[in-house]
């Protein structure tokens, strides 16, 4: 196990280096300059500004400078989005709200989705099943900006139950955005659990358990549910990353100081250091979650072995 994790960690570093490299060069082909008022500067002035951020060096030198800083944990300084601010500080200050609504949305969505999926599977082809399937389809097909706008309009403006927008009222401010984010994991979880449960419930060992006289709830939770979880975890891992790292749409609609909308803005204004820093941050997050998911497999289903047969 330790050997396996060690090997995985090495792969992780390599992946990260590749992502950083790809992003770095992709970013440089983007049109536009981070020197925003470039048209206002004389060539001499522009050179001064570019030199300050090392943008005057040849591309390979810039690349190695950046990677060298990265190895030391230095993500650099924002060029124009928050002039002079440390990129790590920017990411940390924007991460909190995104993580909070993401976590709440993920939790709410997954728990409700699993419940919905299980009920649907146990009551297959009844109105309960149809209703749950309908909710799942709606959850997947309605774009989040529509759903978020509807929540804002009705629950915020018309009924006044929650703040319309802005990040000022603590938990209350996070309710509507969390619900908006919950829809997708809810629908996904419900769909996966239903399909898997139906498959598992039809398998031989369930028939055996029934023959042995196990109760309905024992069969559902102890035998069927655990097996149905595996494919769900596979999709939930990466989904958790995408939700926790912020949603441009939901953050923008609820005017939340999150990292999602800030990341997109950094690309618009070509703030190289912020683009790089945020991409790397997201990547680390994703890679770690994927490792955790792989480890979780073994915990949930002992048949899945992480390391080779000999160990």
């Amino acid at each position: 196990m330790a050997k396996y994790i060690g090997k995985r960690l090495i792969y992780m570093v390599i992946t990260l280096a590749l992502i950083a490299t790809f992003t770095f060069f992709l970013m440089k082909v983007l049109p536009g300059s981070p020197v925003a008022s470039a048209d206002k500067l004389s060539p001499e002035q522009r050179a001064v500004v570019e030199a300050r951020y090392g943008l005057n060096e040849p591309l390979p030198v810039q690349y190695f400078n950046y990677m060298f800083g990265l190895v030391q944990g230095d993500l650099g300084i924002s060029i124009n989005q928050f002039k002079g601010a440390n990129v790590t500080d920017v990411i940390l200050s924007r991460m909190g709200p995104s993580a909070q609504i993401g976590f709440q949305g993920m939790l709410l969505g997954t728990v409700l989705g699993i419940l919905l999926g299980m009920i649907a599977a146990l009551r297959q082809n009844t109105w309960v099943d149809y209703t749950s399937t309908f909710v799942a389809i709606v959850g997947i097909s309605i774009p989040s900006f529509v759903f978020a706008s509807l929540l804002q309009y009705w629950f915020g403006l018309k009924w006044g139950l929650f703040p319309v927008a802005l990040w000022k009222d603590g938990f209350m401010s996070s309710v509507l955005p969390s619900i908006a984010l919950a829809m997708f994991p809810l629908a996904t979880a419900a769909r996966f659990i239903r399909t898997e449960m139906i498959e598992v419930l039809g398998s031989d060992y369930i028939t055996l358990a029934k023959a042995k006289g196990a109760s309905g709830s024992e069969i559902a939770f102890k035998h069927a549910f655990r097996n149905a979880l595996i494919p769900l975890i596979t999709v939930l891992g990466p989904m958790a990353v995408s939700i926790l790292t912020g949603s441009l749409v939901v953050e923008q609609i609820f005017a939340i100081p999150g990292i999602g909308e800030q990341f997109v803005k950094s690309i618009m204004v070509s703030d190289f250091s912020i683009i790089m820093g945020t991409t790397i941050f997201f990547s680390v997050f994703l890679i770690v979650i994927i490792l955790l998911v792989d480890i979780l497999y073994g915990v949930i289903d002992p048949r899945i072995r992480l390391s080779g047969g000999k160990s």
């Binding site: 992502i19 992003t23 925003a36 002035q45 200050s93 319309v164 899945i304």
Partner: protein, 567 residues
């Protein structure tokens, strides 16, 4: 585990695709802010409410609050309210003395200005001195500071600014000196007729040397590390957040004029959210864009204001080094007259914009007797379908062709695409033999194509850098940065040259030269074709009064604003 390899690949693809998807989002070139204005009376009409709090929204974060480094509309708007320079644009948008104690003494040749400073304080109670101006200007022109506006505003005007910006001279040699604590002397390289209004621009505000050196790298990183000398102070800004406040500054020299106690500002980027916050009563004003402008067109609380930004077609006469149909003046004139501008602003834009038959915007620059430049020079090139059709036929005959195909390069925002589609339809209908291809690209790409002169017709816009017609008039002189379209007329160049040079001390003749230059550019040469002057619609609660919209520098002043009738 084979699966894990797929995950590695998946993870990479996910990250890259997220990145690429975000890249496709287009570039928002428009940095205009969404904040209040008012067209109401200047005297408090009703009784003042006991609670003087204004709740407004901005459409973007503050990138920096360092006066030398700022270059965006949000920061300039805040500077205009929390700091102050020698002059300030008043409620009629005329520059009037602020920190300057009355009008300056000007030497006969118009090259030396001597300002007396009034007694005023920084927000920490220390006095603002002439040296604060000297320090600030030197800091902004110092190439090591990397100020985007320093050289842009000073080079060619203030003595030695050009040389210092190029690194050939020391910043201390800039033509600005503190004669004593309350006397500032400025030496100019050439007379600058609009110098007073220029002094209201944030780049020329004073900066506090003691404070800045004490704070070091932390300076301007959040509202704790800032110092103010304007009507308000900035508070509760953490440096990267979406919220901040402005509080009345008790140290401000004219504090008794300031009615508002607190201004709560939140950044809201989604137009629909802004409208919802306005309707919920949480915000007192919301900018209306696109479909919202139409939806609220008849709302009783609608306010419309005109911005000094003009949009026009640029006609590129030599694409990639090859002359094209646009080299022919009749073709250019035909296109310039070939589309209905009134319908465009009424139906397609519907945001309070005006049809533009001119380059220098209306309600922007005024002569010594406060007459609008627009009233002097009038409409220069108007829609006329018949005339346009004739001109186009003549042009094609001269070129010896039966048909002309041209490309219109434009922005990729919804508004830009709708407008360009409308213009294509108009031109193809009114000008027989013309085929238009549309090309919509993000702002940064448009700039690159412009730089490479790789387009036929381009829809572009321009906003002022100083409050004088010249900021528009000189855009298209031979070889200028905006003239990546091979337009050249010596007569026009000469008029611009004389207005900038020998006529600088003769306001009336200078005004006349600029009017003449605009006529040549549009009437005679149709080098560009004006389309519209941008308007902005907002919803504003009726209890909000007297927010002043400016055409230059910071967009709004809250100094004179007040709340009346909310309670």
């Amino acid at each position: 585990m084979k699966n894990s390899k797929i995950f590695w690949l998946l993870s990479l693809v996910l990250v890259l695709s997220a990145f690429l998807a975000a890249c496709g989002g287009g570039n928002e070139s428009d940095t205009s802010t969404e904040t209040p204005d008012d067209t109401g009376s200047t005297e408090p009409a009703g009784e003042l409410d006991s609670e003087q709090v204004l709740n407004i929204m901005e459409s973007a974060e503050i990138p920096t609050m360092d006066i030398s480094l700022a270059e965006d509309a949000v920061a300039f708007n805040i500077f205009n309210n929390v700091n102050e320079g020698l002059f300030r644009l008043n409620e009629e948008n005329i520059a009037e003395p602020a920190l300057a104690d009355g009008e300056p003494e000007v030497s006969e040749d118009g090259l030396t200005y001597t300002f007396k400073l009034r007694d005023s304080n920084w927000s920490d109670g220390t006095p603002v001195t002439a040296n604060d101006f000297v320090y600030s200007w030197q800091r902004s022109i110092d190439p090591a500071t990397g100020s985007p506006y320093g050289a842009y505003m000073m080079a060619g005007s203030i003595v030695n600014a050009t040389e210092i910006a190029a690194g050939d001279m020391e910043p201390t040699e800039l033509g600005v000196t503190a004669v004593d604590d309350s006397t500032l002397e400025v030496k100019l390289e050439r007379p600058v007729p609009y110098f007073m209004s220029l002094m209201s621009f944030p780049t020329f505000y004073p900066q506090n040397e003691a404070f800045i050196s004490e704070k070091g790298d932390a300076y301007a990183s959040n509202s704790e590390n800032l110092i103010f000398n304007g009507p308000f102070t900035l508070t509760d800004w953490d440096g990267t957040g979406l919220t901040w406040k402005m509080q009345k500054n008790p140290e401000y020299w004219d504090a008794e004029t300031v009615k508002l106690e607190t201004i709560n500002v939140d950044v809201v980027k989604e137009p629909a959210t802004a409208v919802n916050l306005y309707n919920s009563g949480e915000k007192d004003r919301a900018g209306l864009s696109g479909e919202f402008a139409m939806q609220y067109a008849n709302d009783e609380n609608l306010v419309t204001e005109l911005e000094p930004t003009v949009f026009y077609f640029k006609f590129n006469q030599e694409r990639n080094g090859e002359e094209n149909a646009l080299k022919n003046v009749n073709i250019r004139k035909a296109i310039a007259k070939g589309f209905n501008k009134q319908d465009l602003v009424d139906v397609v834009l519907a945001n309070g914009s005006l049809p533009a038959n001119y380059l220098v915007p209306t309600d922007f620059a005024f002569d010594e007797s406060n007459t609008d430049f627009r009233d002097v020079n009038g409409d220069l090139i108007e829609f006329n379908a018949e005339e346009a059709a004739e001109l186009f036929a003549t042009g094609m005959e001269e070129l010896g062709v039966e048909e002309v195909t041209l490309e219109i390069l434009g922005g990729d925002t919804e508004t830009a695409k709708n407008m360009d589609a409308y213009l294509k339809e108009q031109l193809e209908t009114n000008l027989e033999g013309l085929t238009i291809n549309l090309k919509a690209v993000p702002f940064a790409v448009r700039l690159e194509l412009d730089e490479a002169q790789d387009y036929d017709i381009q829809t572009a816009g321009w906003g002022p850098d100083y409050q004088d017609p010249m900021t528009f008039i000189d855009l298209f002189v031979t070889g200028s940065a905006q003239n990546k379209m091979s337009y050249s007329n010596p007569e026009y160049d000469a008029l611009v040259e004389s207005a900038k040079g020998e006529l600088a001390t003769d306001p009336a003749a200078r005004w006349e030269a600029m009017a003449q230059a605009e006529k040549i550019l549009l009437e005679d040469d149709a080098a560009i074709a004006p389309i519209y002057q941008r308007g902005l619609m907002s919803l504003q609660q009726p209890y909000v009064n007297n927010i002043i919209k400016h055409p230059f520098g910071g967009d709004y002043s809250y100094k004179w604003a007040y709340i009346s009738g909310k309670e």
